[in-house]
Amino acid sequence: MSVLKEFTKGLWKELPPFRLVLGLCPTLAVTNSAENGLGMGAAVVFVLTLSNMIISMVRHIIPAKVRIACFIVIAASLVVAVELLMQAYAYPLYQRLGIFVPLIVVNCIILGRAEAFAAKNGVAASAADGLGMGLGFTMSLTFLGSIREILGNGTWFGMAVMPEGYEPLRIMVQAPGAFICLGLILAGMNMLAFRQARRKGEQAEALARQQQGCGACGGCAACGAGARDAQAQ
């Protein structure tokens, strides 16, 4: 497996919030503006890349029975480091992200990548995986934040982009807007995945997947559940 492939899979094929549907708490909560989404994403890129690297480095030392505790300690330490650095160098962003910065510890992407990838792969591949997944997460949050900010506030990164008479859809920058937006994006992703599969002539398979209702889930390969099931059989 090439490092490049590990990097790029997080950008589209296993895009965390929209494909794996992981890390939804921050995805929904902080994306009321593009800038907040970008800031949250940057913090996650930092934590995810470093935690993947460190966990991959110490993976042979950590006893299997306490691995989850060890992963959490590593992720938590990195998150506290991010929190301190953010307070020292980007205080306004820290004020806006509030409680969601410490909550990166329990973001399922961090633990998910540690367990599914970093604990089984080398340092370079793990770093690439973390960086790719983190950037995918950042892109998704910025995208969602942009849509919500443009529709709900008429601005993008704080600049007015809508025509003068535009009446902002306030609901979009509030909690319900996050759910509506995310739902539409997930539906769009499913449709895309289905179309792609059909074009490749895998119609029967695509139809079956659609009927199961998890057409867009790259899940099994991503979570390692498929491999475990195969072993069990």
Binding site: C70, V73, I74
Partner: protein
């Protein structure tokens, strides 16, 4: 048994290492964080209370001791003379502590104004204690102030009595500290 020992050793070492690394990081970022908090939280509140300040209240701040606690007092000058001071105090609100920056006019000990610094009150209800409709009632009053429901002069935000009482309590706490410290304050910044 060996497995057990290994688990304990690895996990303890990991925790110890991260503890040391974090306390080191906290130590080196502490001064910078304090500066940022002052500039981003206290600074705007002082600006709201004393829009006519001609000096840099944050740069000239000093610590004073009162009631076994230390308070940061921010001096405000206009035309070269010390006209007011601001200090922050808190009280219990509905969602946590209500912290308010309270400004005092040195000349007659009246309130110059108040500005909220940290609030965790209910949005749309308790949070309205930060709005001018509520805070605008304080300038010119003499502490201690009370809510109109208790015979005082301040109209609380309707539906948010606990938050309003928290704000009034914070103002009165600050006033008590100011009364105790006034001599020291005047001595410290006397011309």
């Amino acid at each position: 048994m060996r497995d057990m020992l290994r688990m304990i050793v690895v996990l303890s070492m990991l925790c110890g290492l991260s503890g040391f690394a974090l306390s080191y990081l906290k130590m080196i970022t502490a001064p910078r964080i304090e500066e940022q908090v002052l500039a981003n939280v206290q600074g705007p509140a002082i600006k709201r209370v004393f829009p006519y300040a001609e000096n840099d209240p944050i740069g000239e701040r000093r610590r004073f001791e009162a009631d076994g606690r230390s308070f940061i007092v921010f001096p405000v000058r206009s035309g070269g003379a010390l006209v007011g001071v601001a200090l922050e105090h808190g009280s219990k609100g509905y969602g946590g502590d209500v912290n308010i920056m309270v400004g005092f006019n040195i000349a007659d000990d009246t309130l110059a104004g108040i500005g909220a610094t940290t609030l965790k009150e209910t949005p749309g209800l308790g949070m309205r204690i930060a709005e001018p409709a509520f805070t605008g009632q304080f300038p010119g009053q003499k502490a201690p102030v009370g809510l109109s429901s208790g015979g005082g002069v301040i109209d609380g935000v309707s539906g948010a009595t606990i938050s309003s009482a928290g704000a009034v309590g914070a103002v009165n706490n600050a006033a008590a500290v100011y009364a105790r410290l006034k001599k020291d304050i005047l001595a410290a910044w006397a011309q």
